[in-house]
Structures are given as C-alpha cells and as structure tokens.
Amino acid sequence: MATVEIRAVKKAYGATAVIHGVDVDIEDGEFVVLVGPSGCGKSTLLRMIAGLEDISGGEIRIGEQVVNGMPPKDRDIAMVFQNYALYPHMTVAENMGFSLKLRKAPKAEIETRVRRAAEILSLDHLLDRYPRQLSGGQRQRVAMGRAIVRDPQVFLFDEPLSNLDAKLRVQMRTEIKELHQRLHTTTVYVTHDQIEAMTMADKIVVMHDGIVEQIGAPLDLYDRPANQFVAGFIGSPSMNFLKGHVRLDGTPRFETPDGIALPLSSPGGVEDGQPAVYGVRPEHMQTDPQGVAAQVLVTEPTGAEILVVAKVGEQEINCLFRERLSFAPGETIRIAPQPNLTHLFDERSGRALA
C-alpha cells in the first residue's frame, strides 16, 4: 500500500493539451474515484499513473518514489481494464498467475496465491477455463483476481463495470467495495457514472475538460458543490438550474425573468439585482400550498418515487417526490424547494455564490 501524489500533472498530444495541470493527493488505503464526462481526461490521468502514457509536465509519486520515467512493470501497480484484457490463450489460473510467473515466484507460491484470490472472488471452480468460456461477470472477476494476486501498492480500475448489464453492475460494485474494505489497498477508480462514484468512493475527484473541478467526500460534493458543473454532474436526476436575479429588497429571494420568486438559503456575498443561476435538486422539491405554481408536463412513476417534469414560468423543473402523488399532464400544482437546500451560482463563472 502507498500514497499517490499527483502534482501539476499535464498531458499534451503535440499541440493539443488534454490535461492542464492537475493536483490530487491520495492517502494510503484510500478509495479515490476519478469521475467526469467522456473526454475529460480521467482515463488519461489513470494511464499516466499506470505508466501507459507519458507525462508531459508535473510529477507523479507512488509512495516516496517519483515514477515519471518508470516503466509500468516497476511501479508495483495492478490495473483492471474496461474490456478486462484477459489473455485469451491462458486459462484463468494462468491469467491470474502471469505476473507472479514473470517475477519468477516459486510454483507452489503462485499456486497458493492464485487459489486464495480465486476463493475470495468465488472463482475456484473456473481456474482451468479459458476466458472465452466465461460470462461477462466472471471475466470481470478474473480481471480483478489478476490484480489482487500480486498484492500491489495501488489498484487502478479503468471503467471496469461499463461492459456489464445493469444488475450485474450493481452486484460487482458491491463486490469491489467489499474487496477494498477487506484489503485496504490504495485504489484509483475511473468512471463516468456518478452513481458508481458516489457509492464507492472515499473521495471523489470531479474532472472536466482536463482540469479538476472539485475534490471531496461524496456527500460533500452533493451538499456543497463548488460550481455549477459539479452541481449538475453529481446527483441523479441532476440539479435544476433556473436563470434570474437576486433580490435583496425586503425578503431576500431569487426572481426568474417571469417574476416568480423563490426563497434563498443564505444570501451572503451577493448584491441586489445580481444575475445568477438558482440550483435546486429534484429530490429537494416538495408540494406546498404556499409554493409557486407549476404546470405538469410529464410524470414518470418508478414505484418508489415519482419524477414530475413541470414548467415554472418559461423554465422547466424536475421534481422527485417520494409520496404517491398522481398528477395529470397540464395540471397546475404548487411546489417549493425545501428550506436551506438551495444553491446559487454566478451566472458567468458558474462558481458557487452562497
């Protein structure tokens, strides 16, 4: 196990810069998730930690050692790839023992460690099979087995669940989390799925266009997003954003261009009349006889909850209700955000204001 320090790391392909100076500190034994939309540079950053991509600037340390120029095989890391990358001409046991064989470990030790890893991942009965004879979930497990057999300093996961169906993905998510709780190996995990990030991470790094937007614990990011991008990216369904102005005459409030007033949580640091973006999560909306009028456009009941898409003035808003409510399209309902659970962002920079 080891810490990983990423200092002002940059990556450019010729004149095209894809990562513009990223700093991340990963504690020993921590489970860190790099999350962001496709093309944000998260996989590139992971591959730089692995040594599969050159580092154009800055420094990466694993433990005490700067690994910038070090080939992957000397970094003492293990990686799980999106398409599993199992060696097709080797059995499950050979796949898992390959790295130990390369290190010239004694045969008996390889066998013991492969067996132990196989037991942890319930692969004992599959050791003689070839990858093509396995299901997607089993292949995923073998890929993880190949990683844990070595007891490396750092685990790297590159979107390992994205090729699995929804049900299996949830199951494997739990298994990976369990595995981490058991082994406590420092883990860097890349995904574009914010639910994976929220459920698995000790710490989330939100990336966008080659920069880090925010680093923090999952609930921190959910409760206190640093900017509009993070606010919109974390949480599902994503946060509602309404355009308008701050009004500080009388009761502090947010006013949409249609003149609809919404309550402000803590209107410090803003000026009267300042243009801003008002953010409220769908699950923080509630029905309220004193609330603003909204016209129902679509309802999407899922059993546990109901998503209502409604129109407030000219702007659309999503509301997620836990109660069994039934609304007809076109019906006018009254809704209001729960107090103290709203956000305010600068209109131009997207920075959180209050």
Binding site: A50, G51, L52, A85, Y87, R146
Partner: protein, 269 residues
C-alpha cells in the same frame, strides 16, 4: 442474414464449378498413368511407370528439395519482416504511415515481367544467379507487401489493452510482444505462411530466370524442362505435375481452418 436454404440453381452452379476445377486434374491423372507417349493414345493400358521414372530416374527429388528449402526460408524471412512491420504499422503512429502502406501495396502490383531484366542484371552483378539466396530474397520482397497488409489487419484485431495489461503485469514491450501478441497472431501467421509457401511452390517466371541451372531448378521449372530435355514426354510431365501438387495439397488439408480464420480476421468483430 442469409440463413435460408440455398436455391437449386446454387447447387447446379457449385457442381459445374467443381467439375470445371476437377476435370483437368482428372485428365492429368489419367495421362500420368498412360505409359505410352500420347495425349490421346487411348491405349487403355495403365501403369505407374511414369511415376517411377519421375521419382527415381530424374532430378525431380532434387527439385523438390530445392523448392522446399527456398519455400521454407522465404516463409521464414517474409513472416519475420512482415510481423515486425505489421506491429509497427498497427501499434505506432508515425508520419507517413498510411502513405508507406499504400506505397507498398502499389509496389506489389507491379507486373513481374517489368522488373525481370533489372533483377537478372542485379543478381548477375552480385554473383547470386543460380543460388537459393537470390530466390529467397526476391520472393520475400515480392510477398512482403501482401503479407504485411494481411498481418496488420490481423494485428489490429488484437486489443492493445492485452499488451498494456502485460506491461503492468511485469513484461517489457518486447516481452509483451512475444508472450501475448505472437500467440494471438498464430492463425494469421499460419495463413500468411501457407500463402507464401504455395506462391513459391507455383512461381515460375522469376525462378526460371534467376535459377535455371539444372541442379538449382525449382519444381515448376523442372517440369517445364521436361518439354525440352527429352522431347515432349506428356506422361512424365503429367506424373511430375501430379507429384508436385501433393505437398501444397497436404498443407492445405491440415491448415485450412487456420487459413479461413486468418483470412477473415477483422472482418467481423
């Protein structure tokens, strides 16, 4: 998908094509069994005399040895160069990569006859006429572009993540190539090797121009000289032709699955 039962005319077409392919061979075989010296002697007498004479009383055994040596070395050289080239063309980005690949393809379309005279002059100057070396060099050069293209498409179908996983697992780049890429490439190598082998076995123009001395002849050249060495001995030519078909036929028989797999690589994910 075309999974319906084939219509009757498809069977008729296949039958006619098969007859077209087999008929000359059958005729050749009958001819080879005719001990009399005539294409249509129709004597009704059959014996293996021609075969005995071709195998034991002619240079045919030497020609077989020559062809086998040249073919094996050509296969070895072509596959070695093409594998390394295909790896570079598949895995590395470098300026002019596609131009080089297209250029190779264009070069391979040059008719042999156009380069025959310069090749002869060059071989003479290097004092390589009537040697195995010149045949291996020229055949390798001739087969390299096609083989390179075939192996590159094969290499492209091997996910780069396999090598990356091997790098992380503890291999060097060369180690990953040998331990991970090459084993995946085996069907492609077999297919390419078979194509090159059969090419050398059938090649005539280059062989007759650069190595026509009697003890250096390849099988195809040897057969041709039957026409002139002893007058026209049809029975012996036929027997020699039938014998010369055997090695490639055996190879095909054993490797046909790999050949089909290798040639269709990358066609479907």
């Amino acid at each position: 998908m075309f999974r319906d039962k084939a219509p009757w005319w498809a069977y008729v077409a296949i039958l006619l094509t098969s007859i077209g392919a087999v008929l000359p061979l059958a005729w050749l075989f009958l001819l080879s069994l005719d001990p009399n010296q005539g294409i249509a002697s129709g004597s009704g007498v059959y014996s293996l005399k021609n075969y005995a004479s071709v195998i034991f009383q002619s240079m045919m055994a030497q020609y077989f040895l020559n062809t086998t040596i040249v073919a094996l070395f050509t296969v070895l050289c072509t596959l070695t160069c093409a594998t390394l080239g295909a790896y570079a063309a598949s895995r590395y980005r470098f300026p002019g990569r596609e131009t080089i690949m297209i250029g190779l393809l264009l070069a391979s379309m040059t008719p042999v006859i156009a380069v025959l005279v310069p090749l002869y002059a060059l071989a003479a100057k290097l004092q390589l006429l009537n040697t195995y070396s010149i045949l291996v060099i020229v055949f390798t050069a001739w087969q390299l572009p096609g083989t390179l293209w075939l192996l590159r498409s094969f290499m492209n179908s091997i996910p780069p993540e396999l090598e990356e996983a091997a790098l992380v697992d503890g291999c060097s780049r060369a180690g990953a190539f040998v331990r991970i890429v090459l084993p995946q490439l085996v069907p492609g190598l077999l297919a390419a090797g078979l194509i090159v082998f059969v090419y050398v076995w059938n090649e005539f123009i280059i062989a007759v121009s650069l190595a026509a001395k009697q003890d250096m002849r390849l099988v195809s050249v040897g057969l041709y000289f039957y026409l002139s060495d002893f007058g026209v001995e049809w029975g012996k030519i036929a027997a020699g032709a039938i014998v010369s078909i055997i090695p490639p036929a055996i190879l095909f028989l054993f490797l046909q699955r790999q050949l089909i797999h290798g040639l269709s690589a990358g066609a479907v994910k």
